[in-house]
Every structure is written in C-alpha cells, then in structure tokens.
C-alpha cells in the first residue's frame, strides 16, 4: 500500500517535472523553430520581424470567422501570419483543456464559452494591458475578468433575442412584436398564435405551435438570472414565475415540451426554420445560421424579424435586459516570448471596429458596438431590414449567462438538473427549486 502510494506520487511528480521542463520549448515546435530561423534572416534587413502564430478553430468549413480574422490581421500586419489548427466543434472545450493541460495547445486559444475562463485562467496570459487599450464600447470584457485581471479579448458578443415568423403572424392575424413586450404578453401571444394557427400546417406537414424554447436550461434560467435574481444567492425562488409561465405554455400546447424535445432530439434550427413554431427565443448567432439555411433550402423561405427579449415589466422596455456572452481569444501562457507581441496585437485587432465590420459581413454579431457594424450586419442578404430588429441588437443591457466565479459550473449542474426535473414534471416546482437551493449550499459552494 505504501509502495503503491509512493509510486503514484513518483509518477505524478515525473509527469509534472516533464510538464515544467516542457514549458518553454514544447509549444508549437515546428513553427517556433521556423520563426526563429526567419528572425535571424529578417534582423539583418531591419524589416519587421515575421512571426507565425498558431490558433485553434473549429468547423472551418462552416465557421468562416477564424480564417476571416487571421486573413484580416495578416493584411493589416503582413509580418504576422496565423496558422489555424482545427478542433472538433462539439468537444472543443474538452479537447482544449486536455491540450492546455499537456502543454500542447496552440498560441492563440479561442474561448468558445466564457464560463471556462475561471478555470483556464491559470494556463492563459494576463492580457489586461490589451483590454485597457480596447475601444470603450467593446462588450464582453467583464466575462473574461478574473480577480481584476483580464484573460481574453472578445470579438463576438451574442445576446438572446426573440425571433418571429412574420408570415405566420400575418396568417394568424396577430400584430408582430412591438418591442415593448412583457413575459405575460409573450405567453398570451404564444397561446393565441397556437389557437389561431391550429388549422394550419407547416410545409412539412407538422402542427404549428406559438413558440419554441429549446431544452437548454439557459433559455429560461438565463433570463431569470439576468432579469430577476442572482445565481450565487442560493435562493432560486426568483425563477418560479418563469417556470410557471413555461409549464403553462407546455400544458396549453403552445410550446413543445422539454420531454419531446430531448427524447426526439429536436433541433431548434428545424423548429423555427421549418416553421413548426411562430416565435423562438434564441441567441443572435442564429441570425447567420437562419439566413444561410434559407439560402440553402434547409430552412423554408419566409419573412422574419427579431425583437428584444420580453421583460419583467414595462419599466425596462426602453433599454431591455437580456443575457448573452462573448466569444473571445486568449493567449496560451506557454507562448514563446518572441511571439507574445504579435499575439497581443491580434487580440487588439479582433475587437476593433475593422474586424467587427468584417465579422458583421459574415453575419456574426461582433463585440464592437460601432454604429457601422450594425449597418453592415443588417445589410447582409436575407437579414430583416425593420427598425425593431436593428434596435434589438443595438440597444440592450446584456448580462452574462455565466457570471465569473469558482463555483459557476457546479451551480449550473445543479440548476440544470432542476431544470429537467421541473420541465418534465418529475418533481414539483417549489420542491425542485428548494432542493436546488439546498444543494447550492451543500455542493455549489454558496455560503
């Protein structure tokens, strides 16, 4: 037993020792060697030092943003080149964690979901100086701030909005959202749409429901956390009205039940794109997907628009509160010193108005709030052109989906289980919320 334990410590120590020894040298071996060779050649001519950075990306065929940013950066700074390493999109976080842990990660590390930042910060460079130099209107920096230090630069900022199918509203004879909706109005309209559209069928012969809320816990809890309460409080009674409303919508048949969604693996893209629902609460990343799918035929052709998310009451409708999160770029702490400057320049570039316009040109909502960005975004083919849609993306308070904190992942797990228990009616609402609160104290680090 004793020998076994010392063996364990030995191997672990060995692995750790190897890990530390590998710090300076192992990151990006081939390119590192190449760039130093080029460095010596370039120094003699006093031209800017060429540097090649490696960057992670995913689904490069369908996610053009990585190539766009890399090319744009190279065009503005010809001495810098970026090589993209492709990762699996659905397991990106897991794979990057493994690569960071083994010291095999590339120089530039995209942050797909902001919630990883607390844990990953120990393997990332502090880029507070880059953040301080960003334009004041760049959104999402807060989501990357841990103990006062910033660890990534946001280049996209998605927020949750209400998508609606204008054609279906017209068919039902109901006016489209006016941007002043409260949750009560939203729920009432969802029911009314369901009743009025009961005789209609979607082109693929399915019944049409008033609205669609996907199975993710954030479709409900994200709004509750942003508009009504604090996830770190350990008291989740503020979610009760949100759940009561949705359970009522499920019962009335005005929205697909969570049980049906999960057991049939329904996708939100099909639900809205194939007109099985007249409304859908979704993140703004869906703008690009919907226009692309309408162009390809994967989604039906219909007129649509977006409106701000419904509010608790009328007091916030002039500057609506919603939730969302940035997509950003961080720097691997094991980057070699001669590449750091280039990497920081890239982080500054991606949050600039120039990069923002380029991103808007492929349908992404950039972190930059420059007015030209919104204009470019809505100039894209297939995008709605009404003023309310533009308002929904330019005027709002976006609270983080996952506030930074050590225990956020544990709390999300607890609340995720509460979500499925409530939505399938396996547990009564009050009991499930109370249980989540108790577990937040016992397992989620809430004191």
């Amino acid at each position: 037993m004793k020998a076994g334990k010392s063996l364990a410590i030995l191997t672990m120590a060995g692995a750790l020792a190897l890990g530390m020894a590998g710090c300076g040298t192992s990151s990006g071996d081939p390119t590192g060697a190449g760039s130093t060779a080029e460095t010596t050649a370039a120094e003699t001519t006093a031209a800017p030092t060429p540097v090649t950075l490696t960057m992670a990306g995913w689904s490069l065929d369908t996610t053009p943003e990585f190539k766009l940013l890399a090319d744009g950066f190279h065009a503005a700074n010809p001495q810098y080149t970026i090589d993209i390493k492709e990762y699996d999109p659905s397991k990106y976080g897991e794979l990057m964690l493994a690569d960071l842990s083994a010291g095999a990660a590339p120089d530039l590390v995209p942050i797909k979901e902001a919630k990883v930042i607390y844990q990953w910060s120990s393997a990332l460079k502090d880029v507070s100086d880059v953040a301080a130099g960003l334009p004041k209107d760049v959104a999402g920096v807060d989501a990357y701030t841990v103990d006062g230090k910033v660890y990534a630069s946001p280049y996209r900022m998605d927020s949750w909005i209400l998508f609606y199918n204008t054609d279906l509203f017209a068919k039902a004879g109901i006016p489209v959202p006016d941007g002043k909706w409260t949750w009560e109005q939203y729920a009432a309209t969802a029911k009314e749409l369901t009743t009025k559209l009961a005789a209609e069928k979607s082109p693929d012969d399915q019944a049409i429901k008033g609205t669609y809320e996907h199975s993710w816990q954030s479709t409900l809890q994200g709004f509750a956390n942003a508009q009504a309460g604090d996830i770190f409080s350990g008291d989740y009674s503020y979610m009760k009205p949100y759940y009561e409303r949705v359970l009522d919508l499920q019962k009335a048949g005005a929205q697909e039940t969570l049980a049906t969604i999960t057991t049939n693996k329904l996708t939100y893209q099909a639900s809205f794109g194939k007109q099985h629902a007249a409304m859908m609460l979704m993140g703004s990343w869906y703008l690009a997907t919907l226009t692309a799918q309408q162009a390809s035929g994967d989604a039906d052709t219909f007129a649509w628009g977006v409106a701000p998310a419904p509010q608790v009451d009328a007091s916030t409708t002039s500057n609506p509160v919603t939730f969302g999160g940035p997509t950003g770029m961080a720097i691997n702490s094991k980057i070699s010193a001669d590449k750091l400057e280039a990497a920081k320049a890239f982080l500054a570039y991606i949050a600039s108005a120039d990069a923002g316009k380029a991103l808007a040109g492929i349908g992404n909502v950039p972190s930059s709030a420059d007015p030209s960005v919104i204009t470019t975004l809505f100039a894209q083919k297939g995008m709605p052109t009404d003023d309310l849609s533009k308002f929904a993306l330019s005027t709002h308070i976006v609270k983080p989906e996952n506030p930074v904190g050590e225990n956020i992942a544990a709390l999300q797990t607890i609340l995720g289980e509460a979500h499925t228990a409530i939505m399938t009616e396996a547990t009564a609402l009050d009991a499930a919320l109370a249980d989540a609160g108790a577990r937040a104290h016992s397992e989620g680090g809430v004191s």
Binding site: A15, W58, S101, D204
Partner: protein, 322 residues
C-alpha cells in the same frame, strides 16, 4: 420480455431461460439426431422450423430498425432528420448526401480513402497485438503456477473497472510528453494492451484439458511449444471472438482518436466523418452525420459476417480427439 425489471432475483428470469433453453436444446438435438439418422423430416419438425424462422425474422427486424432509420435519415435534409413524430420517409430524397460527404472530405486535399486506410491499419495492428500479447499472457496466467499470479491477475481485471474518462487526462499528458500525441501510435498503444483479451483467453484455455499439455510436456514440448502448437490452435473460436470485438471496438472508437489526433491526415473514419457534423450549437448537419454512420458501419458488418463462421461446433474440440 419482462416489463417489470424491478424484481430480478425472483424465479422469473430463470424460468424463462429454462424454457427457452429447453426448447433450443431440444431443437438442436432433434436436428442433430434427425440429420444423423437420415430419416425423413416429420411435420412437427417443419412446424418447429417455420416457427423458429418466423421468430428469428421478427427479432432481426427489431434489431435492425434503428439501422434502417439511420439509412433513411442519410437521404434527408439536415433539418428533417429529427422530428415529432418520427417521420420514416424523407419528404424529398437527397442521395447527394453521399456525394457531399465525399466531396467535403476531399476539400483541402484530405480524403476519405486516407481515413479508411488509417482506420484499417489501426484496427488490424491493434487486433493483432491484442490477440498476440493477450493470448500469450493468458497462457502464463492459466497454465504456469507462480506466487502472486492470482493477485496480479485480479489487478489486471479490476483495472477494467476504472472508466477511461477518469484517467484519460493523465494518460494524455503522459503520451504527449513522450511525443506520441497526434500520431497513430497513441491509438495503437491505447487499445492494444487491455486486460480484456488476457481475461478472455485465460477463460478459454481453462476449458482445454490439462492432460493434453501434460502429454505434450512428456513428449518434450516446451511451454512455448505447448502455447503455440496446442493452445492456440484449440482456441480458434476465442481468438475469433476476441479479434472481432477488438476490431469492431477499434474501428468504432471515437473518443480516443478525438482526444489524440489533430492532423486531418491521421483521422480515423469515425473522427473524419464527424468533423463535418458542424457545430451543434449553430448548424448541425444531421443528415451528413447519418450518412457517415452508414458508411462506417458497412465494412464492420461485412467483417462480422465473415468472421462469425468460426463459431462452428467442433472447431475447438476437433484437435482433442484421439
């Protein structure tokens, strides 16, 4: 089938197996006896046969329905794969998915043939190593008595209980440190030395009578000779099942290659086909996923079909006669 699996320990399951096996055994024996006597087949024999085939056909359909769904889904549009209620036939047929997946995989100079080649190399090498080292070690555990043997064997088996997910990161760090991540070697090492093969082969060696090895020993055969000349030839069905299972598991392994392989040229078929699935958060290409799944299942179905013929009565025991 019992629909209330809450009471496993009552007499029900045993009763079931009793009746099933009795039927089966009696059918088996009946067939054998009749075949031996060359008598003509009675009506009851024919009724039994027809009933048996009817049962097997129904059961086969039950086994294959998800596969049918998979095949049909591969002809749908991405947004039509999942629906309520499940729609069996596509609204419009899209055989071009099969062209799409090939052309997608050709983009950037990568090729599906390359992935098939990688997967085949992995599956063959891993199967070979697993069978060779597993059966070799199993002989040591089954037939050589030495102190600590049982404890060591127990340790082997018990490690199977640790889920790979629990130690994949330490293992990944280890293999990355020695420079093996992003190589096919990593996957070979990962799969080839499991305790599964050792355990399986040991159990089969124990069915081979000790007297056989004893007389071979008297004839002057070394332990290695006994392993090679007697044990291996007599354990063909065990080797066949170990090979089939190892081959299938290596072929279908997704998480291992996913964690270790970054270079597209090194991808396995499972990993490669999934690369085109798209980001599930934005635009998941579900029809393409199913297309890929169909393409990757067919080769192993064929290999299984060919491999199962080693499960023929007498193949193991034929060598023991005389």
């Amino acid at each position: 089938m019992s629909t209330s699996p809450a009471s496993p320990s009552d007499a029900h399951p045993t009763g079931m197996v009793a009746s099933v096996t009795e039927d089966v055994v009696s059918t088996v024996q009946a067939v054998r006896v009749i075949a031996k006597r060359h008598t003509h087949k009675s009506t009851s024999w024919w009724i039994g046969r027809v009933a048996l085939y009817a049962l097997l056909v129904v059961a086969s359909v039950a086994m294959l329905i998800p596969f049918f769904w998979m095949v049909i889904s591969s002809f749908k549009r991405d947004n039509e794969v999942f629906s309520v209620p499940v729609r069996w036939l596509p609204l419009t047929w899209h055989p071009e998915n099969y062209i799409r997946i090939f052309s997608n995989s050709m983009a950037g100079g990568y090729s599906m043939t390359n992935w098939l080649k990688n997967t085949l190399i992995l599956a063959v090498v891993v199967t070979f190593l697993q069978v060779l080292t597993g059966s070799f070690a199993a002989y040591g555990f089954a037939r050589v008595k030495f102190p600590g043997r049982n404890a060591l064997f127990l340790g082997y088996v018990a490690t199977i209980a640790v889920p790979w997910q629990a130690y994949m990161i330490p293992q990944f760090i280890l293999l990355t440190k020695v420079g093996l991540s992003n190589t096919l070697w990593a996957i070979i090492l990962l799969q080839a030395f499991g305790a599964f093969g050792v355990f399986l082969m040991k159990q089969f060696y124990e069915t081979i009578p000790e007297e056989l090895s004893e007389s071979a020993r008297i004839d002057g055969l070394s332990e290695y000779g006994i392993y090679w000349r007697i044990m291996l030839p007599l354990s063909v069905p065990a080797i066949a099942s170990l090979s089939l299972l190892t081959f299938v598991n290596t072929w279908n392994d997704f998480l291992g290659p996913l964690l270790y392989l970054r270079d597209r040229n090194l991808f396995t078929i499972q990993l490669g086909l999934n690369t085109f699935a798209g980001d599930p958060q934005t635009a998941s290409q579900d029809a393409l996923i199913m297309t890929g799944a169909v393409i990757s299942v067919l080769p192993i179905a064929i290999i299984f079909m060919l491999g199962q013929r080693y499960f023929v009565e007498g193949i193991a025991t034929s060598g023991m006669k005389g």
